[in-house]
Symmetry: D2
Subunit: 449 residues, 4 copies
């Protein structure tokens, strides 16, 4: 992920320093467990822990360069690290990595990094949820037109729109928690997962200390269906970001103007057109969503490794693990800020509801006619006729509002009382279930009108 | 999905008849609820139920044709169905669909169809699990070579391989159960989800009767993040199928011959080469996995509908819902049969373990040297030298087994007892953790040696 | 592809009858070539051709059933067909398929089917191009607002918008022609492509008669990079459909109303809201684009077949070949009709240009200031100030047009003549390059104002 | 793309320095063109060119920091650059970017970067082609078993295998050349592509100087179908890499051992198993292919920008443009080296051909029987019986070769001469068309036996 879309905390998780720190931790914990089991000297385990901790605390660019130099020769990253570590620890290093295979370290480390990354993402989701709840409560009774197919349908509340997105991000949080559990496993099982040279209790010990669970069958690697499921969860979240971003982009259109992204002082919308205030954040989020989603296919293709493992997944994961989590972290943070500071224009929302001459109340009128005993097919025909008459003359000579056309319609005359039509034209009737839904979503009805 | 990969029970779920049956059920249940609430006459609800049930029971091609004819005129499928239904029910039909919008019917129906489909898939997964467990138990102690990178690594048990796939399909079952819950929601909330013309208790009633949960915010539609998550689950399962299929394809290779798909009497492998026995089932499963996975991207693209909905998702779902569930149902059934009847050749497995002159025991020897006090780096060098000597002369003059080379190595001489090397060369040491793992996976250790 | 999105001519290409017809043609042509080369009796080749032609001409459901029955036993589709053919031809059938392998027939047949399908798609593209050219010429001088980020930018011509889509579809036509050449190859090369039992001249003869080219190296199959490239071309076309469909959906939005899909008499937009006129065609095209694109990933995954071939690609292609071509054929035909009959509202376009108080001319004013010697940064600041003043008071008390604000601005006063501002506010200045571009795109400038 | 898979020359193309250099070049060229047309003073254009060239020549981290600082305030990258440039150029800078829009610079720059990147990729492809041709010529007559379904089929030549991959990469080169032409266009057309403030001759001049073509209709941006087509070409190439990598992985399998990746001195295959020599390069290429392919879907999703443009494509392209070209550059270079140094083992290939007791000649025997007048169905039955007898007893007591079984078969006895069977069992018959194919692929037959 390019630096422009990278936040430091997430970047640090994927930095070599963090990886090596985790690698050492896994090796040190495994030594402790083996010492407990009497397989290696306790004294050696203690030395490994102490000298290793010291080496990791003092870890610098010099160490990175040294490890890179060894890898350039051995062409094997874990061996390079172990060689460097041996230089720091001395003779006791012969007990490090005993009976283990590289993947024990690599895969368990990836589990730790992914859980660390996920914890940041979960916190990000909380900020998104907070921003959405704030808008939902603030605009619980802000009437706005609901749209299907981009066409005005019936009024709704802007708060309810926000509540809908809140509900989706709440589901996304649950999905991410499930995904976190998927990848929070530990494998210390040896070359092909048989524990030939290891006691399964070593795995159990390391897993417990790292907050992971032992992987039931780890072949040589932790099975990649877990990671595929993880990236699927990120992709669904990304798509939820895109849905909300698309909503904001629509609301900010010149013709709609119901909401706007906050425009920073000094910000320039266009080098050529000084009047421009563009929804660049939400457009950017739309693009980031595509990027995060793009990790799904390679993650799925990574599942079918050959036999007990091949290493084709590795180059994929070296990229998509940081890219997708960094990109999603940035996107969620941007989304939270954007929604928190979103400029909402209730007056324009009210004006838009009425901008089609009242035809948005056609459904309610249809029902009123049905309740008055008109056959559904007839009612539909009458209402469509009146609505179309209004619609086709919008902004033109001879324009009459939907209500005017209804009042003048011979088939309606006398069949329906004016008060009934008044009620049918009142947008506030669309707010009656808001309390009910808020309770379902937020566990509380929120502010009362 | 082409008929070749279609099983009748799954096909029936996606047939128009089933769809119309569910549509009617939703409408009838909504009428019952409204009658309970006093919004429409109880007598009318009863008539709708009775005449509708009769019409659905007698539903035939004539009815399909009639609905199609109405749709050809109205260009709206739900209106076409309601018009047909009105013809069957008579005047009381004016209470049908009252205050509802098409999506209330369409989306709730899709939820029902998807749960029906998922129930078949869950049953399929059980048959796969049963076949894998059978092989795992039968071959718990069948030694076979474990391979990383396609290269012999260390021995393992064929049962443990099967257990690993069992564990993955067990995870897949949990994922599918979660996915089922994702899409098992009901929306009867009107044009833009405000319940403007409906009581939320209608939704609750219909949901309950259909085994669904009410959708917290349904805009006009049930939010598509649910369906995206559902197709992700199918894709992860498909990838698990591909992993197992790839394993079988490898095992059946001419050079490996450790297992074979059952070959039907009369089956012809090739029109030109009568000797061919090809792993066509597992290759077919590999392709089907690609197809099922291909639904993920459009399903994710479906999430970001405009405002309260647009209908771009519809054409996608008309295809991917049947295609992916039918394809996966067929694939799982085929997989279960293939694994149940898989021909396993333990003798060939044993022969393959030894085919590299014993170098597959190099890891164990490395550890034995380390335990004997040799520095890891030295031990690695010695063992690699002996192993490479064996490896490079495989099948050539001057070939010596790995053990022979070890015995002759001056750096080993005297440092390690022959019995220790004997033990290191014994494949059975790789079976010691099988009980432990079986308990973790199956909840029981399985048959004892 | 579901019947709803299927047109008969394209469906027929993928029907079993057409496949068997092509299979026979390939076999008969190969026999003719072998007879020419003296490898089989000429009389036999003639008998094969005559009896086979007669069998294919009389081909009925009975034959389909017979072939299916044989395949149920042999589990091999080509052998089943050849067995059926032998029943029709008699003893001379022993010369049929001589030295060939099933893939010779299957892959060459697929090439023929794909070229047939492509020819329909190319004709479809011509109808799209015709509709776009018609609109481009009709609206060459129809002013409309250009939008970036969904925000009004500067005026343009609706004809030029159409011309841009025309240019894209013209590129798409070239891409499809290139893609057609990619898959128009023939393989009659035997089991692993070595012509061990065949003369390469047989392949050359069959290729020539079928309008194909010989495949340089066909292993057992025609290499799948060709098909992957083909599906990529379809996906790019699908994305072009989506771009145009998205444009129409935007233009039809209630707040924009610059264009509308033709609304059929009797068509119903919504079961609940009689006033609705929804852009359902373009929304449908958006979904179909997702479906066609979804074939790309499995097509790419099909490339890496094992060794001289595996059959994993087969189940994929049995689905994506018909699905993607049928879906694209339907989409292109729908698009052509939609664009041909599109209702365009120039008055509304004109009104929308002016709806933001003239700020859309800010870029021209900026340049006028720059030409008058104002430093760019200053000019930008002045123009943005005046534009924002207009923008933020849109529809509110105290609103002044952009021109009024410019006229009142102290930093502008005296620096720029009113006529210069008049010219800067004239949308027609944006039409001056239309002739130039039309010549580039259509090879002619089109109608003159 | 992580540094591990990055080569410096490709990285430099995507570095900010190169981007700014191209931005300046575009601006300077546009000024020159405007000066030629008399729209700005020639002296100013000269000053811009000279001071700008000097600034770019002296470009350092200080400049990068300055531009970043301005962007942090303006939130607009092009404006930030222009402001920095103005600081360097002085008052004449007011003629820079006159009448242009940011996208004119951004998109034309991207075209230049992509053509630069493509030229590196084309050179990479040449190295791959050279390595493949070398192996094809060296092993033109090296017999090896052809495999379908992973099962031995018939002999072929290892050179012909290589020639097949050569032919695919030759097609890939043509595809990349076509893709290069797709994205080699220039847009200097103003805010919505109308040339309102620009003369089209400016665009023509800049395009010509940069080796690009003018974009017929550029809305605000160069249409993204071009870029989508470009990434499709990269994806098809990536899939070709995967096919060849998969072949090498198979050939290096422990049971096959027909070829091996070059193993560096000092390289370690496994931290636990010193005997391992793993095909890590080809496995890595398999993963890189997945990564490059993953750019296709977001690139396709980028096509349908809203109206004259939205900026959702930008974040996508900031990542996939460098990632996919860097990844593919690395992969092609790695592939070329791997194939050039591939260790090929003809003896093992010969041994493998014979390892199934001769059944790989069953097709030839089938034909011999057919030529001898045996009905195809009978011949098939006889040959399959003899082949299966050999196959099922492979490595078991009572094993007889295919030839022995044929010789003993009562239905064959007397119907076919021993010399005919001898010929049918001779692998060299599979080499007869090699010359013919080499001429088709390489334009020359290559070395003669």
């Amino acid at each position: 992920m390019v630096p422009r879309y990278t936040r430091p905390a997430m970047l640090a998780i994927w930095a070599p320093e963090n990886r090596y720190r985790i690698w050492f931790e896994i090796e040190a914990l495994a030594c402790e467990a083996m010492a407990e089991l009497g397989e290696i000297p306790k004294e050696s385990a203690r030395t490994i822990r102490e000298k290793g901790d010291a080496a990791m605390a003092a870890f610098s660019q010099t160490d990175l360069d040294r490890i890179d130099a060894i890898e350039a020769e051995t062409r094997h990253d874990v061996i390079a690290f172990l060689t460097w570590l041996a230089e720091k620890i001395g003779p006791d290093s012969r007990f490090v990595h005993l009976g283990m295979t590289s993947s024990d370290v690599l895969d368990t480390c990836l589990s730790v990094q992914l859980t660390q990354a996920t914890d940041l993402l979960l916190a990000d989701l909380d900020t998104v949820l907070a921003a959405l709840k704030k808008q939902a409560f603030e605009h619980k009774y802000t009437l706005t037109i609901g749209r299907s197919h981009g066409i005005h349908a019936e009024p709704t509340s802007f708060g309810l729109k926000m509540a809908g997105h809140y509900a989706e991000f709440d589901r996304n949080k649950k999905r991410l928690e499930t995904a976190r559990a998927e990848i929070a496993t530990c494998a210390i099982s040896g070359a092909v997962g048989t524990f030939a040279h290891l006691d399964p209790r070593v795995e159990a010990y390391v897993a417990d200390k790292l907050g992971l669970k032992p992987e039931p069958v780890s072949t040589q690697v932790i099975p990649r269906d877990r990671h595929a499921a993880y990236f699927c969860a990120l992709a669904v979240i990304a798509s939820g970001i895109e849905r909300l971003a698309t909503e904001v982009r629509h609301l900010q259109r010149s013709e709609v103007r119901e909401a706007e992204e906050f425009f920073h002082k000094g910000q320039k919308g266009s080098s050529a057109m000084p009047h421009k205030r563009n929804p660049v954040l939400s457009e950017n989020l739309t693009g980031l969503a595509r990027l995060v989603r793009a990790a799904v296919i390679p993650a799925l293709e990574n599942v079918a490794l050959w036999h007990e493992r091949d290493i084709s997944h590795s180059s994929v994961e070296r990229n998509i693990c940081p890219d997708a989590t960094i990109g999603l972290d940035f996107a969620l943070a941007r989304l939270a800020g954007m929604m928190d500071k979103l400029l909402v224009y209730p007056d324009q929302m009210a004006a838009n509801i009425e901008s089609l001459g009242g035809v948005v109340h056609s459904g309610e009128v249809l029902l009123a006619l049905a309740r008055a005993g008109v056959l559904r097919e007839d009612a539909y025909r009458i209402v469509q006729r009146c609505a179309m008459e209004t619609w086709t003359k919008l902004g033109k000579p001879g324009f009459k509002t939907f209500r005017e056309n209804l009042d003048a319609d011979p088939e309606i005359a006398g069949r329906i009382a004016p008060e009934v039509l008044d009620a049918a034209m009142d947008s506030r009737s669309h707010l009656k279930a808001v309390d009910d839904r808020y309770k379902l979503i937020f566990g509380e009805a929120g502010p009362q009108a």
